[in-house]
C-alpha cells in the first residue's frame, strides 16, 4: 500500500466537519452522565431494596447451641456429659473431587467411595458426609484442602458409666435430643435454649462476619438423679452374675431408699452400651423394671394377709387348714408344692402357702381386695415421668370370680412392674405409709405419702416377713450377717398362649435393717433355666449381696450379731415354696 502524504493533499482545503466530533463526544459523555445517574439511583435511592436483597442472600441466623446439661448421680458422679466432636459436611455444587481425592476422603471418613459420590452428586446445598468424628480425623480431612468440604463442631453425648446406667440415663440422638431414659424424660430441662447470631456468609458457607448483636444461649441445666452409682454398680454386678449362673433370659433390680422414696438403683439386664449403639436390639433397650409387667407370684401374699389383719378377719396366730395341699374352687384346684397341714397365718407367709392365702382371701370381698391393691400402687403407672412406663394389669373387682380372687391373693391373674412391687413394700418398711418415688435427688425431706395399712398391721406383717429369711422360711439365702432382714419370695409360672408354660419368674422383695428399715430391694429373674427357679434360690442371693453391699456403702448401723446363718439343710425342702 502506498502512503499518501496528506500535508500535500488538495483535500485539506476541506476540513472534516467539526459538528460531527461534537455529536460523537456528546453521545459518549452523555452516556457517562446516564451511568452516573443510574449509579446514583442504585446507590443512593434504591440502596435499601438492594441491601435487603443482599441480606436475603448472605445473611443467615445461626443457632448457638446451648450446651446440654450433665446428668449426675446423687453424689455428682458424671453419668452423661457432652464432649465436642466434629462433623464433615459439603456443598455438593462446589465439591468437584478427582477420583483419587474422593478415594482418600472416603477412606478417612470410613465410608464407601460410591456412597461418597452419591452424596456429592445430590442437588442439596448442604449435606453431611459423616458426623461425630474425632478432631484428629477431621484435621486430616481438612489438610486434604478439598473444595466444598467443610467441618463443624458439634457435641456428642458420652456416658462414662456405659451399660451399667444405660436404662436410667438413656441416650440422645445425633442431634443431641433425648431418645430414651432420663435424657428423654428431662429433655427440656437438659437442652436449655439455643441462642442466635446473625452473620454474613460467603457462598461456600463460611462465616465472614457478625452483624448485629449476639443472643447468647441459655445453657441446659444439670440433672442430678437419685441414683447412687456405687449401689447401682453393686446391683448390676450381682444381677449379671446371677443371670449367668442361672442362664436366665432377663432380670431386674430396684433399690429404694425407705426414708426418701428415692430410687437409688435401677438395673435391667440385658442392657446395652449407650456409647456404641450399633446392632442395638429392642430386647436390650427396654427398661423392664418400668415398662414390662409380670405376674409377681407370692410376693403379693403379704398384702392379702395385711388386709385380712386390717379387717380383723385373722391375726398372726389364727390357724389355717392347708391340708391336703389342695383346695378346690369350682372346677379349679389351687395347690401347694408341699402339703403342710395346719399353719398359722404367720406360717402361711413363712412357708408361702397358696392354699392358706387363698382361704384367707376368700374371707374378704373382691371390692376390699381391689381397693387395697389399687392403694398399693398396682394397676396404674407410678407417673415417675419416665418414658414408656406401664401400670400393669388389675381387673375391676366386679369381674372377679372366686377362683380369680383366690389366685390374686398369691399374685397370679394380676401383673405389676418391678418398680411398683418394690415401692409397695415401702408400706411394710415404713409402718404402713406409702410415699411417692423419685428418680431425682431430693433436697427436701420426704412428706409422708398415703396410708396403706395401720402401723400395727405393718409391724405384724414385717415380723412375718422376717421369718421368711430364717430357717424354716423360703429364703434363708436372703440372710445377711449383721442385719435383720425381712422379705418375701415369689416364683411365678409364666403364661404363654393362655396357659402356664414350664417357665418361671423368680423374685424376691425385701428390706433391711428390720429394726429401722433403710432400703427396699426388689430382684426379679426372668426364666432361669439352669435347674433352679425358685425365688428363694435364684433371686434371694442377689438380694442379699446387693443389700449387704449397699448397707455397708451407706454406713447403716447393724442391728444383728455378725453370725452367719446355721448351715443350710441339704434337704432343699425348706427353701421350696409355692408357685
Amino acid at each position: 500500500m502506498k502512503s499518501i502524504r496528506f500535508s500535500r493533499s488538495p483535500l485539506l482545503s476541506q476540513p472534516l466537519p467539526v459538528w460531527r466530533r461534537r455529536v460523537v463526544l456528546f453521545f459518549i459523555l452523555g452516556g457517562f452522565l446516564v451511568l452516573i445517574g443510574r449509579a446514583f439511583y442504585l446507590q443512593g435511592i434504591n440502596n435499601e431494596f438492594l441491601g435487603d436483597k443482599g441480606k436475603e442472600r448472605f445473611e443467615r441466623v445461626l443457632d448457638i447451641s446451648a450446651t446440654r446439661g450433665r446428668i449426675t448421680d446423687r453424689h455428682g458422679d458424671l453419668l452423661a456429659v457432652s464432649t465436642p466432636v466434629r462433623s464433615v459436611w459439603a456443598i455438593p455444587e462446589d465439591a468437584e473431587l478427582k477420583p483419587r481425592e474422593a478415594r482418600s476422603l472416603a477412606a478417612l471418613l470410613g465410608i464407601d467411595v460410591r456412597e461418597l459420590n452419591r452424596k456429592l452428586s445430590s442437588d442439596h446445598d448442604f449435606i453431611y458426609l459423616k458426623r461425630q468424628l474425632s478432631p484428629d480425623v477431621t484435621d486430616k480431612v481438612m489438610a486434604l484442602n478439598l473444595p466444598g468440604i467443610h467441618q463443624k463442631t458439634e457435641y456428642r453425648r458420652y456416658y462414662p458409666s456405659g451399660e451399667v446406667m444405660a436404662h436410667m440415663v438413656g441416650f440422645t440422638g445425633v442431634d443431641e435430643s433425648g431418645q430414651e431414659g432420663v435424657e428423654l424424660a428431662f429433655n427440656d430441662k437438659l437442652t436449655g435454649k439455643s441462642g442466635s447470631r446473625r452473620v454474613i456468609k460467603d457462598r461456600r458457607g463460611n462465616v465472614v462476619e457478625d452483624v448485629g448483636s449476639i443472643h447468647p444461649p441459655t445453657e441446659g441445666q444439670d440433672v442430678a438423679l437419685a441414683l447412687d452409682a456405687k449401689i447401682q454398680y453393686l446391683a448390676y454386678t450381682h444381677l449379671k452374675q446371677a443371670l449367668e449362673i442361672h442362664r436366665a433370659k432377663a432380670g431386674g433390680v430396684v433399690v429404694l431408699d425407705t426414708q426418701s422414696g428415692e430410687v437409688l438403683a435401677l438395673v435391667n439386664l440385658p442392657t446395652y452400651n449407650p456409647n456404641n449403639r450399633v446392632r442395638l436390639i429392642g430386647e436390650q433397650l427396654r427398661n423392664r423394671a418400668l415398662t414390662d409387667s409380670f405376674e409377681p407370684g407370692s410376693t403379693l401374699k403379704p398384702f392379702t394377709i395385711g388386709l385380712a389383719l386390717e379387717e380383723g378377719k385373722v391375726n398372726a396366730d389364727t390357724p389355717i387348714q392347708t391340708a391336703p395341699g389342695k383346695f378346690h374352687i369350682g372346677p379349679a384346684t389351687i395347690s401347694d408344692s408341699h402339703a403342710h397341714g395346719i399353719l398359722t397365718v404367720a406360717q402361711v407367709i413363712q412357708k408361702s402357702s397358696n392354699v392358706g392365702a387363698a382361704k384367707i382371701a376368700l374371707s374378704m370381698t373382691p371390692d376390699d381386695m381391689h381397693a387395697m391393691f389399687e392403694a398399693a400402687g398396682f394397676g396404674a403407672p407410678l407417673k415417675l415421668g419416665f418414658p414408656g412406663e406401664v401400670g400393669g394389669h388389675l381387673r375391676p373387682a366386679k369381674t372377679w370370680r372366686p377362683i380369680e380372687q383366690a389366685t390374686m391373693s398369691y399374685g397370679h391373674g394380676i401383673s405389676v412392674t418391678l418398680i411398683q412391687l418394690a415401692r409397695s413394700y415401702l408400706a411394710f418398711a415404713r409402718d404402713g405409709d406409702l410415699p411417692a418415688l423419685s428418680l431425682m435427688k431430693q433436697e427436701t425431706p420426704l412428706a409422708s405419702g398415703s396410708r396403706l395399712f395401720s402401723e400395727k398391721t405393718a409391724q405384724v406383717v414385717r415380723a412375718m416377713l422376717e421369718t421368711v429369711v430364717q430357717p424354716g422360711g423360703t429364703a434363708p439365702l436372703a440372710h445377711i450377717p449383721g442385719y435383720r432382714v425381712a422379705g418375701k419370695t415369689g416364683t411365678a409360672h409364666k403364661v404363654e398362649n393362655g396357659r402356664y408354660a414350664n417357665k418361671y419368674v423368680a423374685s424376691f422383695v425385701g428390706f433391711a435393717p428390720v429394726s429401722k428399715p433403710r432400703l427396699v430391694i426388689a430382684v426379679m429373674v426372668d426364666e432361669p433355666s439352669n435347674g433352679k427357679y425358685y425365688g428363694g434360690e435364684v433371686a434371694a442371693p442377689v438380694f442379699a449381696q446387693v443389700m449387704a453391699g449397699s448397707l455397708r456403702t451407706l454406713g447403716v448401723a447393724s442391728d444383728a450379731p455378725l453370725t452367719p446363718l446355721a448351715p443350710l439343710p441339704t434337704d432343699s425342702e425348706s427353701v421350696r415354696e409355692e408357685m
Partner: protein, 386 residues
C-alpha cells in the same frame, strides 16, 4: 482552527498530563481492584493453586508486558502505523479465523475466543479492536473524497464489517462485534460520510431492531429479561442481581476496600466483566463516579488530541485518536451499563481495568499510539518534523 487546548498546553511538555494521569490512574486502580475482587476466589480455587495473589501476579505481569509494548509502540511514527494498518487488519482477520479452528482455538464457558501459545492465551478480538481503529482511520483517509458516495464510501467498509462480524459472532463475541462496528461507523461518521445516508442507515437499523424484537415475545424476553433480574433472580438474573446488590450495598462511600461480600463467590466474573460492581460495593458511588470521570477525561482528551491533529492537517492521526476515544468510551459505557443493569449482559471487560492479558496489552499499546499522536502534534507545533 485554533482551540484553547493547543494554546493552554505548555509547548515544551512532551506528554499531556491530563492524558497520562487518568490513564495511569485507571491502570493502577484496575490492578488494585482486580486483586481485591479476585483474592477470595483465587485462594479458594484449586485452579489457581490456592494462591491469593494469583490474579494480582498475572495482572501485574501483563501490565509490565503491556507497558514495555507501549514503550516500543510509542517509538513507531504514525506514518508507519498508517502504512501497516491494512496488514495489521488482515493479520487480525487471520487470527480471528485461526481462533475458530478446533484444537487451535481455546474455549471457555462455551465461547471460543482464545488461541493457546503454551502457557499464554491470546485473544485476537482484543487486538482486532485496535486494528479496526487503525484500519478504519486509514480507510477513511484514503477515501475522504468518496465519503459522500454510498457505493464507494460506505459499501466496502460495510462488506469488511460483515465479514469480521460473522467471524466474531461465530466465537461468539457479541461485545467485541458491537465495539468494532461502533469504531468503524464512528470513524466513517467523523470522516464525513454522507449525513443523509448515515441517518437513513440509523433509522433503518432502529426500525429493523424494533420489528425484530416486537415480533417475537421470546426474543423480547431474551433482550429485555435483564431489565427485571428479580423475576428469575436465582436463574437467568443471578449474575446481574448480584451486581445490583453490590451497587446497593456500596451506597455513598462503599463498604471499604477489600470488604466486598459479593466477591466471596457470589458474583461471577468479579475480577473481569463485573469489576465495576466490586468497585461500587467497596468504594461506593464515590468510587464509581471517579472511574466514570477518569474515563470521561480520557475520552475527552483523546478527542482533543485528535482535534489538534486535524488542525495540523494530520487526518490519519486525528481519526486514530478519536477512534481510540470512541473505543474506550463505547466499551467503557457498555461494560458499566451492563454492570448497572442498563444493558444486557454481553461479556465485555472494562478497558484498562479488568483482568485479562490480551486486553491489557492491547489497551497499553492503544494508549501509546494516542501518546504518539499527541507527541507528534507537539513536535509539529514546535516546528520540528516527525
Amino acid at each position: 482552527m485554533n482551540n484553547w487546548n493547543a494554546v493552554a498546553r505548555p509547548a515544551n511538555s512532551e506528554i499531556d498530563p491530563l492524558l497520562l494521569w487518568p490513564a495511569m490512574g485507571l491502570l493502577f486502580c484496575g490492578l488494585v481492584m482486580v486483586y481485591s475482587a479476585s483474592i477470595a476466589m483465587a485462594e479458594g480455587s484449586r485452579f489457581t493453586g490456592n494462591q491469593s495473589a494469583y490474579f494480582l501476579m498475572r495482572h501485574g505481569i501483563y501490565l509490565v508486558i503491556g507497558l514495555a509494548a507501549a514503550a516500543a509502540a510509542f517509538q513507531v511514527p504514525m506514518r508507519l502505523w498508517q502504512q501497516v494498518s491494512c496488514w495489521l487488519f488482515v493479520a487480525g482477520f487471520v487470527l480471528l479465523i485461526v481462533v475458530l479452528i478446533p484444537h487451535l482455538g481455546r474455549s471457555v464457558n462455551g465461547a471460543q475466543r482464545w488461541i493457546g501459545f503454551g502457557p499464554v492465551n491470546l485473544q485476537p478480538s482484543e487486538f482486532m479492536k485496535l486494528f479496526a481503529v487503525l484500519y478504519a482511520a486509514d480507510y477513511t483517509t484514503r477515501k475522504l473524497s468518496d465519503m459522500a458516495s454510498f457505493s464507494r464510501g460506505f459499501v466496502p467498509m460495510a462488506g469488511v464489517m460483515v465479514l469480521v462480524g460473522a467471524l466474531l459472532l461465530r466465537e461468539p463475541d457479541f461485545g467485541a462485534f458491537v465495539v468494532i462496528v461502533s469504531i468503524a461507523v464512528g470513524i466513517l461518521f467523523l470522516g464525513g460520510i454522507n449525513a443523509r445516508l448515515f441517518s437513513a442507515l440509523l433509522v433503518v437499523m432502529a426500525v429493523a431492531f424494533v420489528i425484530l424484537i416486537w415480533s417475537s415475545p421470546y426474543r423480547r424476553e431474551r433482550i429485555f429479561g435483564f431489565m427485571d433480574p428479580w423475576q428469575d433472580a436465582y436463574g437467568k438474573g443471578y449474575q446481574l442481581s448480584h451486581a445490583l446488590i453490590a451497587f446497593g450495598r456500596g451506597e455513598w462511600f462503599g463498604v471499604g476496600l477489600g470488604a466486598s461480600v459479593e466477591k466471596l463467590f457470589y458474583l461471577p466474573e468479579a475480577h473481569t466483566d463485573f469489576l465495576l460492581a466490586v468497585i461500587a460495593e467497596e468504594l461506593g458511588l464515590f468510587g464509581v463516579c471517579a472511574v466514570i470521570a477518569l474515563f470521561a477525561l480520557l475520552v475527552e482528551r483523546a478527542f482533543a488530541v485528535g482535534r489538534q491533529a486535524l488542525t495540523l492537517d494530520r487526518v490519519y492521526s486525528g481519526l486514530v485518536a478519536q477512534g481510540i476515544g470512541i473505543w474506550l468510551g463505547v466499551q467503557g459505557f457498555i461494560n458499566m451499563g451492563v454492570n448497572m443493569g442498563l444493558l444486557p449482559t454481553k461479556g465485555l471487560t472494562l478497558p484498562l481495568m479488568s483482568f485479562g492479558g490480551s486486553g491489557i496489552v492491547a489497551n497499553c499499546i492503544t494508549l501509546a499510539i494516542l501518546f504518539r499522536v499527541d507527541w507528534e502534534n507537539r513536535q509539529l507545533m514546535k516546528g520540528q518534523s516527525v
